[in-house]
């Protein structure tokens, strides 16, 4: 336990620069891939590795790659998803900032495997500072012959560009991202056809998350089996977890999949326990879109087993008692956190970020926000609680893209596990109105 794949070298001074990165074994996988492997062999290794998409859905990467339409004569594209806007998630920016060359290395190997000659890195517009870092790294890669025409003297050529967004959570959804990359509003497309067949500029396209692609160099170097030997069961490899909320050590951690949630929350080298010695109340372990679960159900499954940091263990119990690993945005709530207020806050987020194409999402998120506002501000009534459940139910599954589901799950799960908090808000409006929600006093002396 505790092996690292991505952040092993992240603390080496100036690892951001090509020379230092190269001196520590960087870009070796590109030499190996281009000179000794056939594209299909790489796809085979990625399949064997069991690597699953790190953007949130956890779809097997190798399998996704086999869907890429290789028969059409159109150009193929690789697009790296660095939109990272899911509340609680801040791991990709960390990776791109610390180790830009690790991403580029992984993207070169992936492009070679997929027969791609043009690749884009899409970053959210708020990450303007990363544009300079990535462009500089890309320039260095060009200068050193790892990008451009005839890389390392082979007949493989690849161009790579960074493309910024301009503020829109929905552009993290892969088809909205492609629209945005084409210079349009970020309205998700109806699937099928999937991007693997009709993607960027109507050409076959693979969209993968930053962290997913950064793993490919390791898989090429050491093989799919070596990767699969890390982690637990079908949750192979490591995962970057961005931990935040009411904990002592917020930050980005690379964990080997399979450690217990309890260790992750309480061990000093990870979250370091709950801030101010308070009790744990609830956790949202995979970004704001995944179900919130109370302390009992995040530490143990409903059947009493230790909950582990794996796709399977976190999902155990389904919507009744489980949640999801999602993007790895791990949000921790202490005993003083108001679940109703947080649910209202998230609903406002989804309402704000809905692209507006589908009525259930556009209208439903608005109604959920309004109703939650009134409960939180002491104007709710008992019927509102079930009304919320019914709205969430009507949004879920009825929209073009999963933003609708992402908006429905936090509300449905909060009511499922914390119904008494909602009832309290309705029953005691005067108390609720007078609760002070600020937390700043806690941070006055912190630096």
């Amino acid at each position: 336990m505790g092996r690292k794949i991505l952040l092993e070298n992240s603390d080496i001074p100036n690892i951001k620069s090509f020379d230092v990165f190269r001196a520590h074994g960087g870009y070796f996988s590109v030499e190996k891939a281009l000179k000794t492997m056939a594209p299909d062999e790489i796809i085979e290794e990625v399949k064997k590795s069991g690597l699953r998409g790190r953007g949130g859905a956890g779809f097997p990467t190798g399998l996704k790659w086999t869907f890429l339409d290789r028969k059409s004569n159109k150009p193929r594209y690789l697009v790296c998803n660095g939109d990272e806007s899911e509340p609680g998630t801040f791991k990709d920016r960390y990776l791109m900032e610390k180790l830009p060359h690790l991403l580029i290395e992984g993207m070169i190997c992936s492009s070679f495997a997929l027969g791609v000659n043009t690749a884009y890195i899409y970053i959210r517009g708020e990450f303007k500072y990363l544009l300079g870092i990535l462009n500089q790294a890309i320039n260095e890669a060009y200068k050193n012959g790892f990008l451009g025409k005839n890389i390392l003297g082979t007949n493989f050529s690849l161009d790579m560009y960074v493309h910024p967004g301009a503020g829109a959570y929905i552009c993290g959804e892969e088809t909205a991202l492609l629209e945005s990359l084409e210079g349009k509003r970020g309205n998700p497309r109806i699937k099928p056809p999937f991007p693997a067949v009709v993607g960027l500029y109507d050409c076959p396209t693979v969209v993968n998350n930053v962290e997913t692609l950064a793993n490919v160099g390791y898989i090429v170097n050491f093989g799919g089996d070596a990767y699969a030997s890390i982690g637990l069961g079908k949750s192979t490899g490591t995962k970057l977890i961005s931990a935040c909320g009411n904990i002592n050590n917020p930050g980005v951690y690379e964990i080997e999949l399979g450690m217990s949630v309890e260790d992750f929350i309480y061990k000093e080298e990870f979250c370091g326990g709950i801030k101010d010695k308070l009790e744990l109340k609830a956790v949202v372990p995979g970004g704001s879109s995944v179900p919130i679960v109370p302390k009992e159900l995040i530490l143990f499954t409903a059947s009493g087993e230790k909950r582990l940091m794996t796709y399977e263990s976190l999902a155990e119990g389904g919507f009744e008692s489980g949640t999801m690993l999602g993007s790895g945005g791990f949000i921790v709530y202490d005993e003083n956190a108001c679940i109703v207020r947080n649910t209202w806050n998230f609903s406002r987020f989804y309402h704000h970020e809905s692209c507006g194409q589908c009525s259930p999402c556009r209208e439903g998120t608005g109604w959920m926000e309004k109703i939650l506002w009134r409960i939180e501000h002491g104007h709710g009534n008992m019927k509102d609680i079930d009304l919320l459940v019914s709205i969430a139910d009507k949004i879920e599954g009825n929209t073009i893209c999963p933003l609708g589901d992402a908006a429905a799950w936090p509300v449905a799960s909060a009511i499922r596990h914390f119904r008494e908090d909602f009832i309290f808000h309705v029953q005691y409006p005067e108390i609720v109105k007078n609760i002070k929600h600020g937390a700043l006093y806690k941070y006055e002396n912190q630096d």
Partner: protein
């Protein structure tokens, strides 16, 4: 989509001549070349960032029409995009746009107090600009920096682990620097060198 009170009504066209500087134009053509022949519309989002920064601080109809011209696309295609993304302003904003994160993870770590403190200190509400034209206050959704909460951006630069005391210092610094017009961070165009 974009933040609340930002004005989404396009202003009347004034027909003032508008053009990027020679150096910026070179960058612009380099950016357009990142995309395949005939797909120059892809450069729209980066170009609007540059235009907003270099051509007046917000996207007037004249500026947007100029970009449409440059990319050989219809003006409506530019308006569609400019009204969708939250980082574009269709109206004058202050020299410093303070964007405070209000989403869950920041909120439970004091983000709401930061917003209150800024409103109190600057005597403006969400979406408003100070009388001297220096500061615009705007709440935004998760900035992808939740572990460093509470967080805000000022003209796309991150400020993290905020406290009232820190905010006092930041605002004071900005006031002092406002006159010498130095950006501590590089411009959008410079990020493309």
């Amino acid at each position: 989509m974009s933040g609340q009170k930002i004005n989404h009504i396009l202003h009347q066209k004034l027909n003032i001549p508008i053009c990027f500087s020679e150096t910026t134009l070179q960058k612009v053509h380099k950016i357009i070349a990142h995309y395949p022949e005939g797909k120059q519309k892809s450069a729209l989002i980066p170009l609007l960032h540059i235009a907003q920064e270099e051509l007046g601080g917000y996207l007037s109809v004249d500026v947007m029409d100029y970009i449409a011209d440059l990319l050989k696309i219809q003006p409506i295609e530019v308006y569609e995009v400019a009204t969708f993304y939250s980082q574009y302003y269709l109206d004058k904003v202050g020299k410093y746009v303070i964007e405070v994160c209000r989403t869950g993870p920041c909120a439970i770590c004091g983000g709401e107090d930061i917003q209150d403190y800024l409103e109190e200190k600057l005597h403006i509400k969400d979406g408003e600009t100070t009388a001297d034209g220096l500061f615009t206050l705007k709440t935004v959704e998760c900035l992808g920096a939740c572990g460093y909460a509470p967080v805000m951006q000022i003209n796309t630069e991150f400020y993290e682990h905020l406290t009232p005391a820190k905010i006092d210092i930041i605002l004071e610094d900005l006031r002092l620097n406002a006159t010498n017009d130095k950006h501590s961070d590089k411009t959008w165009a410079e990020k493309y060198s």
